[in-house]
């Protein structure tokens, strides 16, 4: 790290001390032109990824999947099955890589932990009164501690959107700092719920706010509101992590979640990562897909590439 980034980093770490400083900083970030951002995202979506590049992208995408189930109907049996799938997504092909992580509610963490123990697959748990975040702070922090204690090594928290939209940035900041502390050694992913932030300017500000407060990852969505991850939103977030690393030397990961269902979609995201932030982020440590049905499509395309024939959906496990 250079001297300038060190001093920039310490300057930026001061921002959280005052509401005014935070506001001044966040509102001083360059704006995002909606039309331009959407146009750029659409353009990146026209890249043609074929043959060897496609095979490489599919395996990378599989390794980046946070295999997720976040339903009231989740059972210990279901999440165990999901964890087993995470370890060996394609039982017929041992060369198929494992996914990045399994993502479940805190109550399901112990069952998943049993299956994943000793493996390289991470265990993520949503916390902080996911998905709404509408609970007192102490309860959100207790939720977080419980998930970590049960074995989660990644925490997906939600920001307080009400406070953010009302301009109470320090409140949001302090909550993230507190959750980071409650997470201990677990990696903290900060869910911005971009579908509720309404503008790309807000997405950029929320991204910076989450990074300034110590988030290890910024994540688009809970998947529980109508608008989940989109290419332009992810583009703005990627630009934010790129600029943040430039300013501070610290690298932050990005996780689009919700609505990414096909291999084609996933590859578009990888192209966007590649051309916006570069190969440093093309790694499961720095980029994840929050998804459930995506994995099966990736597996089907993978099988098509290796065997030359499409197998029907019955050949892949449903979860």
């Amino acid at each position: 790290m250079t001297a300038t980034t060190t001093s920039a980093r310490s300057e930026l770490s001061e921002l959280g001390r005052s509401e005014t400083a935070l506001r001044t900083f966040l509102h001083g970030l360059p704006g995002v032109d909606q039309v331009g951002a959407e146009q750029r995202a659409a353009q990146l979506g026209t890249r043609s990824i074929k043959t060897t590049a496609k095979a490489q992208a599919i395996d990378l995408a599989i390794r980046m999947v946070d295999l997720t189930t976040l339903e009231g109907a989740d059972t210990p049996g279901k999440v165990r099955a999901l964890a087993a799938k995470a370890l060996r997504p394609d039982p017929a092909d041992p060369s198929c890589p494992h996914v990045g992580a399994v993502c479940v509610y805190p109550a399901m963490v112990p069952y998943v932990a049993e299956v994943l123990r000793g493996s390289a697959v991470h265990l993520a748990s949503v916390a902080t009164a996911f998905p709404s975040g509408q609970a007192p702070l102490e309860i959100k922090l207790a939720d977080t501690r419980a998930a970590v204690a049960a074995g989660a090594d990644e925490i997906d928290m939600v920001i307080n959107r009400g406070a953010f939209l009302a301009g109470r940035y320090k409140e949001v900041y302090d909550e993230i700092v507190a959750t980071k502390e409650a997470s201990g050694d677990a990696h903290l992913k900060v869910i911005l719920e971009t579908g509720e932030l309404a503008t790309y300017d807000n997405v950029r500000r929320a991204s910076w706010l989450a990074m300034l407060a110590g988030g290890d990852f910024i994540k688009t969505s809970t998947g529980k509101v109508p608008i989940a991850a989109t290419m332009p939103v992810s583009l703005v977030m990627l630009e934010a992590v790129r600029d943040f690393r430039e300013a501070t030397g610290r690298q932050v990961g990005v996780k689009p979640a919700g609505g990414i269902k096909t291999t084609k979609d996933a590859i578009k995201y990888l192209v966007m990562v590649n051309e916006t932030v570069g190969p440093d982020w093309l790694d499961p440590d720095w980029f994840r897909f929050g998804a459930s049905s995506l994995l099966n499509d990736l597996l089907m395309q993978r099988t098509k590439l290796t065997t030359g024939t499409y197998s029907g959906p019955d050949y892949f496990t449903l979860d």
């Binding site: 704006g31 750029r40 190969p279």
Partner: protein, 476 residues
């Protein structure tokens, strides 16, 4: 690293003949004097086809055919009938767009991504748009029952061969004129495929005539006494010569000439999108764009930041095979153009500007020039004054909005300009003061058939596109 495997568009969708005649009076004919030239693929220097070179007698034949069609068929035809032909042509262009896009990329060197996603959709859109005007001319604002002019001689450039053809032919035909069109000598092939489409559409013979050839053919065409209207898109020098040659005749003239557009970035601009706009402004179509944003004027307090982002973005540009779907920057259209770009770039270095290009491997064969920017450029440098017509950007800085306007307008050209700022009032303030026919705000190189396009000062006169584009083809 995530390397994109080659993703070439198939060449086999185009059925190229070894040689092409002239398209006169509805059929392909041999030239009277038998001259011909070769059209090559600028990305490989491979010969694509042998094309006829029209002489004075061929021009005579074509103009006579166009006159006959005007007097007997197209002029008297009701607008709603003309519209049917134009709609049919538009639909055929859409149906055959893949073929046309591949051929355009082969002959011109532009990336297939652009010919597929920009050129061809706009070509079809132009025909659809003007087809709609054909039976509504009395509502175009040029008086009741406006009449066509007659036979139009149209000479188009090589940078957007089919799109410039559409800009010329669609309004001319909609208004009831017949045309003789000369495509550029380096890019005649899509115009010849368009001639086949005219046949396929059963367009009456002589309404569209295509004469291939070089400067002499063009001169013979615009100087022909049987021509009522001349429309030219190309360099300012040739435009001047044409204006001289039609002076004192009855011929109407519209000219769309060169440019040296300023792309102006203020300190409150959305930086990431502005960088995209700068890249699109100068590297779109290898910078072979008359309205290219070839002068970047950036406010000094964000200059470093913008340039850093720009360089990082330029490093992502993929230069190479135009038929690869992932190529961003294709081949320079001709050896002569490459020579001009090199000469001006060398002058930029010699005059003290600092040159930068991202590392990129250029193919061994064909005509290539890496995306290039010059920093430390002043108004006095040749690269800030002359149209380079290549992927070369000159970067200047400014301090105040007034200085930006002064620098932007300090050029004999006036085709286009771009403004990047979050402040709406500043966009309007600037647009009022910029002497340019098109002003883009927080975007660049946006085209639409409904929007008029044309220049101030030495960038030409007359407008193409929109309702205004009809004026040049009506007797008003």
């Amino acid at each position: 690293m995530f390397e994109y495997a080659p993703a070439p568009e198939s060449r086999s969708v185009v059925d190229l003949k070894p040689s092409y005649g002239l398209f006169i009076d509805g059929t392909f004919v041999d030239p009277t004097d038998g001259g011909s030239f070769k059209s090559i693929n600028p990305a490989s220097e491979e010969v694509l086809a042998e094309v006829a070179e029209a002489g004075a007698q061929d021009v005579e034949r074509a103009v006579r055919a166009a006159r006959r069609a005007y007097d007997k068929v197209w002029g008297p035809m009701p607008g709603r009938e003309r519209a049917k032909y134009l709609y049919r042509i538009a639909r055929l262009i859409q149906e055959r767009s893949r073929e046309l896009a591949v051929l355009e990329s082969l002959d011109n060197g532009k990336p297939i991504r652009e010919s597929r996603d920009v050129d061809l959709p706009l070509v079809a859109a132009h025909f659809f748009y003007y087809a709609g005007w054909a039976d509504k001319l009395e509502h175009a604002g040029f008086g009741a029952n406006p009449q066509p002019i007659g036979v139009a001689a149209q000479v188009i450039p090589w940078n957007f061969p089919l799109l410039m053809l559409a800009w010329k032919i669609a309004p001319a035909l909609a208004a009831g004129n017949t045309v003789v069109l000369k495509p550029a000598e380096t890019t005649p092939l899509t115009a010849l495929l368009f001639a086949e489409i005219c046949q396929q559409a059963d367009l009456p013979a002589g309404v569209v005539n295509i004469l291939t050839g070089a400067g002499d053919t063009g001169r013979a065409l615009v100087e022909h006494p049987g021509v009522d209207k001349v429309a030219f898109t190309g360099s300012t020098d040739v435009g001047r010569a044409i204006a001289r040659s039609v002076a004192g005749t009855r011929k109407r003239l519209t000219l769309e000439l060169g440019g040296k557009a300023a792309n102006i970035v203020f300190d409150d601009a959305p930086i990431d999108q502005a960088v995209e706009g700068i890249v699109n402004g100068i590297f779109f179509n290898q910078g072979h764009v008359c309205c290219a944003g070839s002068r970047l004027l950036v406010q000094e307090n964000v200059a470093d930041r913008v340039l850093e982002s720009l360089k990082r973005r330029m490093a992502q540009l993929r230069v190479g095979d135009p038929l690869d779907k992932n190529t961003d920057v294709g081949a320079i259209n001709s050896a002569a153009q490459l020579e001009r770009i090199r000469e001006l770039s060398d002058a930029g270095s010699a005059e003290g500007a600092e040159r930068w290009s991202p590392p990129c491997d250029l193919p061994d064969r064909g005509f290539w020039f890496a995306p290039t920017i010059f920093t430390g450029v002043t108004q006095a440098h040749r690269i800030a004054r002359e149209e380079i017509f290549g992927p070369v950007l000159s970067v200047l800085t400014f301090r105040t909005p007034a200085e930006a306007v002064e620098k932007a307008n300090n050029t004999p050209y006036g085709l286009s300009a771009g403004i990047w700022t979050d402040k709406g009032s500043r966009i309007l303030w600037m647009a009022d003061r910029l002497r340019a026919g098109v002003v883009w705000a927080n975007t660049f190189n946006k085209f639409d058939p409904t929007s008029p396009f044309g220049g101030y000062k030495e960038s030409g006169y007359g407008r193409e596109g929109g309702r205004h584009g009809l004026e040049g083809y009506l007797n008003v």
